[in-house]
């Protein structure tokens, strides 16, 4: 939209380092320079966020201007003569970098972002070999009192990206800028712990942090320990969105599909079984479709809201507990898996549940919290023992000396290996909705759905909607991704103005492909590639509807229908609490 408006406007011609270039009015110097082939260094800037112009590294010379200008936010003007790389500019940038580094820990070797840090890259580009300024340590305490996110404000470069994401995109408002001058930094309200704040552990702040100030809680050591324990039978499940992002950690293009290699890597790491969370995604669809149909029939609480995204669950529990009755009682696929792994699978494999150690590979930081919730012990044990992010898995693979690109393609293990395309698209915003619609339609209409692609609910738009004809009944559905968008729909429900019957909500923009545990540095364009790949997998799948997954049917036949209803229900369903902040 914005681009269209720009091109309708007039064009301006400027000279950058002697090269003439014509761009639409309103284009920033940074963007124009990029188009002309000149890279301008940035630190506080992020291509998907607003310019802040606070780090002052993107300074350039504009002829006629007394001061250097920040390229990230200054629009080009007709006739501008811009120099991006003069001696003066380089000197200024280098001094600013030295100033930032003098206020930063000098322990790159020990940092989780070593070799993947925007500040470190700049220091290298500008050949900072020694620092003339006095380096001061801040000795701020590490905030690691929650299961998901670690904040190390000693490393913070005060770029403010995390604040924009938390305040404006997610509208969670857990963190903001605080204090001034030397004490200026990012803080929760009154410096309370994240657990006591409105934080949902969505981890969007982590994904935009240019340095090691924000990261997931590192649980790899616990997994290594389990793998090295001969007493334990260690199984792993992988979420749908991991397979289309993991490759980026090994230099592959965004959206590279790495399912087979990922499974092979996990097997070589020593996991006894490698299972697919997609299996329980299909199971989720069966359960959630039933719930929707029941609520439609009984005139229950509508709209029904999905429950797969733990960041979203934290959000509604903390911010809109009065609407909790709308949330599906279905556990997330990760937690259904954990519950079945330590009951159904334990029986089948004849391994005592206490000997089974369940690891999840998730694109998510909030999943680390979800698995520790007291409700998630329906097997009698903690159903999922450890959650690793996509990034942590990559770390383990690198540490094992596996040549990822050279790995053979392996396949998932039974009995949780079969899944449908419907489950794969759980990783994309709109995917759960589309999967549910495929099943609900055929259940209600009693006939085969001709066109399986519900394109209305696909894509990166914040809120999408569709109306589906279910045997004469028009069912209105909506999909929101990003908690700021979720908020819009929740306010509608609160005001009694919500016309939808069923709403899918994912905490992260783009859904799980844009999750807080995914590889760093992904832009919106990269996330689109991940999305496309999930739909490509779906398109190629032999099975594309969850209710056609016979392995799931078998779980019902062999296990769930044979146990007490109440127990089966507890394995697959949960409840929520008012945690109003």
């Amino acid at each position: 939209m914005q681009k269209m408006a720009k091109t309708k406007n007039k064009l301006v011609t400027v000279t950058i380092n002697g090269e003439q270039i014509t761009v639409p009015a309103g284009t920033t110097i940074l963007e124009a320079a990029k188009q002309a082939g000149f890279k301008i260094p940035t630190l506080c800037h992020h291509p998907d966020l607003k310019p802040r112009a606070t780090c002052r590294l993107c300074l350039v010379e504009v002829k006629g201007q007394r001061r250097l200008q920040t390229a990230c936010n200054t629009p080009v003007r007709e006739g501008n003569e811009i120099i991006t790389n003069s001696a003066e500019v380089r000197e200024a940038r280098k001094t600013i970098l030295e100033l930032i580094l003098a206020d930063h820990p000098q322990d790159c070797l020990k940092c989780s972002r070593n070799q993947n840090c925007e500040l470190q890259k700049l220091a290298d580009e500008y050949q900072i070999r020694e620092n003339p300024f006095v380096v001061s340590a801040k000795n701020l305490p590490l905030e690691d009192s929650n299961p998901a996110i670690v904040r190390d404000m000693n490393k913070c470069v005060k770029c403010g990206r995390c604040v924009e994401v938390c305040q404006e995109i997610q509208q969670v408002g857990a963190i903001n800028t605080a204090n001034r001058s030397l004490a200026y930094g990012i803080s929760t309200a009154f410096e309370e712990e994240l657990a006591d704040s409105t934080c949902t552990y969505c981890g969007q702040c982590v994904t935009v942090c240019p340095v090691g100030a924000l990261k997931e809680k590192d649980d790899t050591a616990r997994v290594w320990q389990a793998l090295n324990n001969p007493e334990l039978h260690v199984v792993v499940q992988t979420a749908p969105a991991v397979r289309v992002a993991l490759g980026e950690e090994f230099g592959q293009k965004p959206g590279s599909i790495t399912t087979g290699k990922m499974i092979a890597a996990l097997k070589r790491l020593g996991f006894a079984k490698v299972f697919d969370t997609n299996f329980t995604a299909d199971l989720t669809i069966i359960e959630e479709s039933r719930e929707l149909l029941k609520r439609l029939k009984d005139k229950g609480d509508l709209p029904l809201l999905t429950s797969c995204s733990p960041g979203w669950i934290n959000f509604i529990e903390k911010m809109y507990p009065e609407l909790l009755k709308h949330v599906s009682t279905c556990k997330s696929p990760q937690q259904m898996f954990g519950a079945l792994a330590k009951t159904y699978y334990a029986d089948k494999a004849q391994i005592p549940a206490e000997k089974i150690f369940v690891v999840s590979i998730m694109p998510c930081t909030a999943k680390k919290y979800e698995c520790t919730r007291p409700e998630m012990k329906s097997s009698g044990y903690q159903d999922v023992d450890v959650v690793l992010t996509t990034r942590e898995l990559a770390q383990m693979i690198k540490q094992s000396g596996l040549d990822f690109a050279a790995l053979p393609e392996a396949e998932y293990d039974e009995p949780f290996g079969v899944s449908t395309g419907a489950a794969t698209i759980f990783g994309a915003t709109g995917g759960v909705m589309e999967a549910a619609l495929r099943t609900v339609y055929e259940t209600v209409a009693g006939k085969t759905l001709e066109d399986l692609d519900f394109k209305m609910v696909r894509g990166l738009d914040g809120i999408k909607e569709a109306t589906v004809d279910l045997a004469g009944k028009k069912v209105k559905v909506a999909v929101a991704n990003g908690l700021g968008n979720a908020k819009i729909l929740l306010e509608m429900i609160k005001a009694g103005k919500c016309k939808y019957h069923f709403i899918e909500i994912m905490a992260c923009p783009g859904g799980c492909i844009g999750g807080g545990g995914q590889p760093f540095g992904a832009t919106k364009a990269d996330k689109e590639k991940r999305l496309e790949s999930l739909y490509a997998i779906d398109k190629k799948s032999k099975l594309r509807k969850s209710h056609e997954n016979l392995a799931v049917t078998q779980v019902y036949d062999d296990f769930l229908r044979k146990t007490l209803d109440i127990y089966a229900h507890e394995l697959l369903h949960t409840y929520y609490s008012d945690r109003k902040h």
Binding site: A53, R56, R66, A92, T95, L99, S181
Partner: protein, 434 residues
């Protein structure tokens, strides 16, 4: 001939500040009455002819600022008076607020008429609680007398002034930070563009002017821009309220015509009257902590925007702090830098980290621990801040340092060899070490 020119300050101490009647008795509100019969463009043209420059410190031509806002056809527009007088050594706006508030109200109201604004805000620094009370009362009296509020003087024009309090942050004197603070947000400067004329208070087109700038408006309208200009120089119209402090015999606020020399200001018996004690003047700090320091060879420079700028000096807020030979330049700059470290908002690197490192280096100098390389580093930082900082605060934070490095180089160098010409630095430290 007297070097004082009480054009704006004539009422100070002469009338009851909140009395509309007494204000009218001295010619008050004739500017407004006249303005209401003029077109907005005619008024702007008078301000342009007057060559009035912003009295807050930046010295931007007020007429040009008004024209830019006038040309934006987007409403509502807001009028904001910056009364966050935080610049150290500056206390002239305070006098307007407490001794002649109706003049400021009249100026703001004329601006309201020019821009067809219905709401004006005055942001008064928190430390001026007493002045704020006086100002509020003056507003109430003006409303009661029909010079403010609904249908001013029986015309269609309605205009209200809201008195708002700051909380003591220097950065809120920066116009965009001030607007953030007015909106209830944290007082940190905004990213520009967009400029405040386009996207100002509550995201609407906004005029922000200093107290003294507004105080000039009734006079300019009343006597005309040409006459007003004639009180000053060809480029700097009218008069300026200056604030003398430091090692000076007669500290205080004086209204002078532009064009008299710095020597007149500091030494004339009617004005500064020379240094306070027996020591000679060493240097003087113009325009507050954010301004440049001036030195003895520059004393014959006329006090006006252009002549000062040619000498690397500036009018700034009108503050003039005089320092005699008992002052060590390093010691003085340490205080200046501490001020900026305290007041920096902290969001941009050069200001937050640069001032910190300047302080480290000055401290090394004052302790006799600095090397030639440290002096070079200090020079590098003094070049960096003005060119790279986000807002006026950071851009100006090293101005005093730059001018002192240039003009008192030998005193810096003396400190490298453990010698403080003023006898301030090492005596302190030696007794501390014993």
């Amino acid at each position: 001939m007297s070097k004082l020119m009480p054009l704006l300050s004539a009422n100070f101490g002469q009338i009851t500040p909140t009395s509309v009647e007494e204000y009218i008795g001295t010619g008050g509100f004739t500017g407004l009455r006249k303005a209401l019969k003029m077109t907005p463009q005619e008024i702007i043209d008078e301000v342009k002819t007057a060559k009035l420059r912003g009295r807050g410190g930046a010295g931007y031509p007020t007429g040009a600022k008004w024209q830019q806002l006038y040309d934006i056809k987007h409403f509502p527009k807001y009028i904001v008076c910056n009364a966050d007088e935080g610049e150290p050594g500056t206390f002239k706006d305070k006098l307007f607020l407490e001794k002649d508030p109706l003049r400021v109200i009249e100026g703001m109201t004329i601006a309201g008429y020019v821009f067809n604004a219905q709401e004006g805000y005055i942001y008064i620094r928190g430390e001026y609680a007493a002045q704020q009370k006086v100002f509020q009362e003056a507003v109430d009296q003006a409303v009661a007398a029909g010079y403010l509020g609904e249908n001013i003087l029986g015309t269609e024009f309605s205009y209200h002034i809201h008195v708002m309090t700051g909380a003591g942050a220097y950065i809120c004197g920066e116009n965009s930070a001030l607007l953030n603070s007015l909106e209830g947000k944290v007082g940190r400067p905004r990213v520009k563009p967009p400029h405040l004329a386009e996207v100002g208070l509550f995201e609407q087109p906004t005029l922000v002017n200093n107290v003294e700038s507004f105080a000039n408006i009734p006079t300019i309208v009343q006597i005309g821009g040409e006459k007003y200009l004639s009180y000053g120089t060809a480029e700097s119209g009218g008069t300026k309220l200056i604030c003398l402090s430091g090692n000076i015999a007669n500290p205080g606020v004086y209204e002078i015509p532009f064009g008299i020399t710095l020597r007149d200001i500091i030494f004339d018996e009617e004005l500064g009257g020379g240094p306070a004690g027996s020591k000679k003047v060493k240097f003087y700090h113009l325009g507050g902590q954010s301004g440049p320091c001036g030195f003895l060879p520059q004393l014959d420079t006329p006090y006006c925007y252009q002549a000062l700028r040619e000498k690397g000096l500036s009018v700034g807020s009108g503050a003039i702090v005089v320092l005699d030979e008992s002052v060590c330049v390093i010691d003085y700059l340490l205080t200046v830098t501490q001020f900026f470290i305290h007041e920096s908002c902290g969001k941009c690197t050069p200001c937050r980290e640069g001032n910190k490192q300047i302080h480290v280096l000055l401290e090394k100098l004052s302790q006799g621990k600095a090397t030639k390389a440290d002096l070079q580093l200090l020079q590098r930082l003094s070049n960096l801040l003005p060119k790279t900082s986000f807002c006026g605060l950071g851009q100006a934070a090293a101005t005093a340092l730059s001018t002192c490095l240039k003009n008192l180089r030998s005193e810096f160098e003396a400190h490298l060899t453990g010698n403080c010409p003023a006898g301030v630095c090492f005596t302190k430290q030696e007794s501390g070490e014993q």
